[in-house]
Amino acid sequence: MKKLIYILFSLLFTHFLWSQERKFQVNGDARGYLFAKNMLIDKALDTINAPRANYGHTLLDLGFSIFPNNNTEIISSFRIRNELGGFWGGGVSFNVRQLTLNGVAGNKVKYNLGDIDVKMTPYTLYNFQEEGIVNEAEIFALRRQVVHYDMFYMPNNTWRMQGGQVAFGLKFNKVLQALEFKGFITRQRPTDGITIPERLFGGGSATWKQNDQLQFSYNSISLFDLTRTINDSIRYKNHVQTLSAKYRSKTQHNFQWGVDAEGGTSNVNYINYTNPAAPDLQNDWFYDAAFVFDYKKSKIVTKLGYKDVGADFFSPGAQTKRVDFTKFPGVFQQYTNNAVGRAINLTDIINHNAGYSYQLSDRLMAYNVAYDNINPYGIATPNRRGVYFNLEQKDSLKFKRSFIQIAQLFESRGMGTNVKKSFTSLAGGMDIALNDFLAWKREIVFNFGVRHDITNRGGEDYKKIKLTSTLIDVGLSVRLVGKLDLLLGTKYFKAAGNEFVNTRNAFNTITDLLTVSMDFTETTIAGGFRYKFSEKNQLLLNYQLHQIKDNKPSGINYGISQFNILYTLSF
């Protein structure tokens, strides 16, 4: 009898789903992630901290898409997460991961409300990539994707925010082709009702499409405090506005050239602040213009550009870092018998052990000069001017992808001195389909990438800076049998030299410069197996050894070995 009732209910539920075919959809992502880690350090140096950490979780992001009518979609996603060892609900958490309402009003205006992904130009709103990647191996990329997924760091560089956005366009038959308008408003911070006013972030763009070749955009974006949300008149306001242009010539003889350009201003006001350290107004400007040459036959695109970003140019949407280097890693936070706080390293970032940003910062965040001293705030890094050159070849017969990036930049304003720093960055990488070279059926992909950065400053001895860093990524992916892949990867990072690390106050002003010298290497070797049940379902078994060798006399060498299991399923 029980079986009969069960079958009846199952049939009814299935019937309900079929009848709601166009109105209801279930999807989701499931994950199991288990870690076993060991701290490798001279026992004489550390007898007080536990050298082992085992942890993990399983989770399910269950998403529902509801289509009440042809023009509306409601997306919800609920996360159920169970920490390893949290039996009987002890370690279980339930969260709403996403709640969004998408629609089209009057068949003309697209709108999104709730959790939205927003992006504009690289100088207004752009979630730029974190440190430590130069065409990295798949064995690292798979685990980095977990971080990106959890933090909503999408491949198209959007920021996940809460608010609303609209977009609509007008098409014309004469004079111009189209006008497109986009706008959004999001809440960045609630008020505490006492001292912290409510903060909003909003902006929009108007794009004039002259034809298929030429378009101009006006972009405007603001981070600002709402008045009267506290009983005080203090108010922060940042406003960035830019003009961007894109031109592409007609393709002739498989060749097309074009121009990408953007220029604009930023200003920051600290209104009614009584703190004498608060500047009345900070403003500056930038421009970035590049020629683009597209050799369509050989699939090579080159870009030669020049940019000048003012020292006081501040655009929170484009300059907020993903990784907060003021935080300590989530595992093995301290080491040695002196309980020294461990700094975030490159594999902590991959392993979900760093502090990550989910809100925009109203000041330039701290960064590690060793990992990226040239563009620590992405393309929109302030106080940089100079020339850059990029070359990219996509998907040739034997080379899946290859690229070269070169930049020669300078400070436009010195730091602590009138002598300016110069920055040289050379990067390149390639994915090679070895099986094509060797005429093998099974896929073998070798990838490598190299980035070498040099920072220089002359002047008297105490002003001199010479800092070099090199990051090498190498990886190999081999299809062994059926759906089983062997994944190998290594990262090698070396930094040596000296620099001055700046400290900023709450008003984004540099208040201190600390001299640092370094000579260390980070080596990460990883190997594992991946079984692809399907394109959306895979299991990764991975072992990794990470070692830091500090060559300074006072340096502390340590390593972290880890074994982890990652299971992912999307449906």
């Binding site: 001017r385 304003r413 540099i510 201190d512």
Partner: protein, 335 residues
């Protein structure tokens, strides 16, 4: 091709827009922090004579080539009083290098010559700058001075000394914590801890020291120097703060408050004993003392302060000085 040329001209024009900022830089000057050290403007401390009693102060003016640690040490030629002023700024001025005539601790400065040295501990081979100033008037104390023992034993004070002890006022500006005179005990008492005491009372004709009513921001201060039988197990001063709770001008131990406080010696130098009056109601273990009056610390009712020197009888001779009993508001006494 024309368009390419046009765009090239526009971009070239953009490139020439901004010039390098040659006049400004971000952050503090590296030269101030890391540059070579030099004295750009030598020490200037104004007049050779200074009368602190008239409100005069000594400002040390000096300009250095960089921010670095500097130490100004002022030492009394006779008293041995020492005042140090430290800082890291590149420019020394009245903002950061001002001397009001005070010392770091007892002894205080006297009417004497004071020698000044300025040193730069973090700068190798840096010069030592030397100077001097003549003190013609002493810093005026802020507070309620009870006695500095400069005027001898008042008729209404009471003294107790064991038969083998000399307890008296001595005068020698080189030995006093402040001024010229101080109270001393000197003697060997092999049978008892008690050495001697002096009970300080209000001036003749008065029954109080005219102290404010609030005990919460009033500090009792006295200078203490143990010379023999020294150490936290060996000798101490015992204070009795007697309050005239009923206002009859006479202290009655059976019905009024006596707050007791003891301070053990720990150094051969002059020591500043300082205690908030409100805290006198607690004993050394933090417990509220049992007294026979209303149990309230009421400085306006203070009728006498007994200073009692006690020392370990097994250690031979005991010797100690006391000087400059003063109450101050809001903070301990600044010598």
């Amino acid at each position: 091709m024309k368009k390419l040329l046009l765009f090239s001209i526009v971009i070239s024009a953009l490139i020439s827009c901004r010039k390098f900022d040659k006049d400004n830089f971000d952050g503090p000057s590296l030269e101030d922090s890391f540059g070579p050290f030099a004295i750009l403007e030598d020490l200037n401390r104004g007049n050779y004579e200074v009368d602190f009693s008239a409100g005069q102060k000594v400002a040390f003016n000096m300009t250095l080539s960089k921010n670095t640690n500097w130490v100004i040490k002022i030492e009394g030629a006779n008293s041995g009083a020492i005042r140090t002023i430290t800082g890291t700024e590149r420019i020394l001025s009245l903002e950061n290098a001002l001397w009001n005539g005070g010392a770091n601790k007892f002894p205080s400065f006297n009417l004497e010559k004071a020698y000044i040295t300025v040193t730069f501990p973090n700068e190798e081979n840096s010069p030592i700058v030397r100077d001097s100033v003549l003190i013609t008037g002493l810093k005026q104390d802020q507070g309620f001075l009870i006695t500095s023992f400069e005027s001898g034993i008042a008729p209404n004070w009471q003294q107790f000394n064991q038969t083998t002890v000399q307890g008296k006022i001595e005068c020698d500006p080189d030995l006093a914590a402040k001024g010229s005179c101080f109270y001393s005990w000197n003697g060997t008492v092999g049978w008892d801890w008690a050495i001697g005491s002096v009970t300080v009372k209000p001036p003749a004709g008065s029954t109080s020291f005219n102290l404010p009513a609030s005990a919460n921001n009033l500090f009792f201060n006295i200078a203490f120097k143990a010379l023999q039988n020294v150490g936290p197990q060996n000798s101490f001063l015992l204070f009795w703060f007697d309050e005239d709770d009923n206002g009859d001008g006479v202290f009655d131990l059976n019905t009024e408050d006596r707050f007791i406080y003891e301070y053990w010696s720990n150094t051969l130098d002059w020591d500043l004993i300082s205690r908030k009056y409100a805290d006198l109601k607690f004993d050394k273990d933090g417990a509220v003392q049992n007294t026979n009056g209303n149990g309230l610390t009421e400085p306006s009712k203070l009728i006498s302060v007994n200073v009692f020197f006690l020392a370990n009888p097994g250690n031979g001779n005991a010797k100690a000085y006391a000087d400059h009993m003063i109450f101050t508001l809001n903070e301990p006494y600044q010598p």
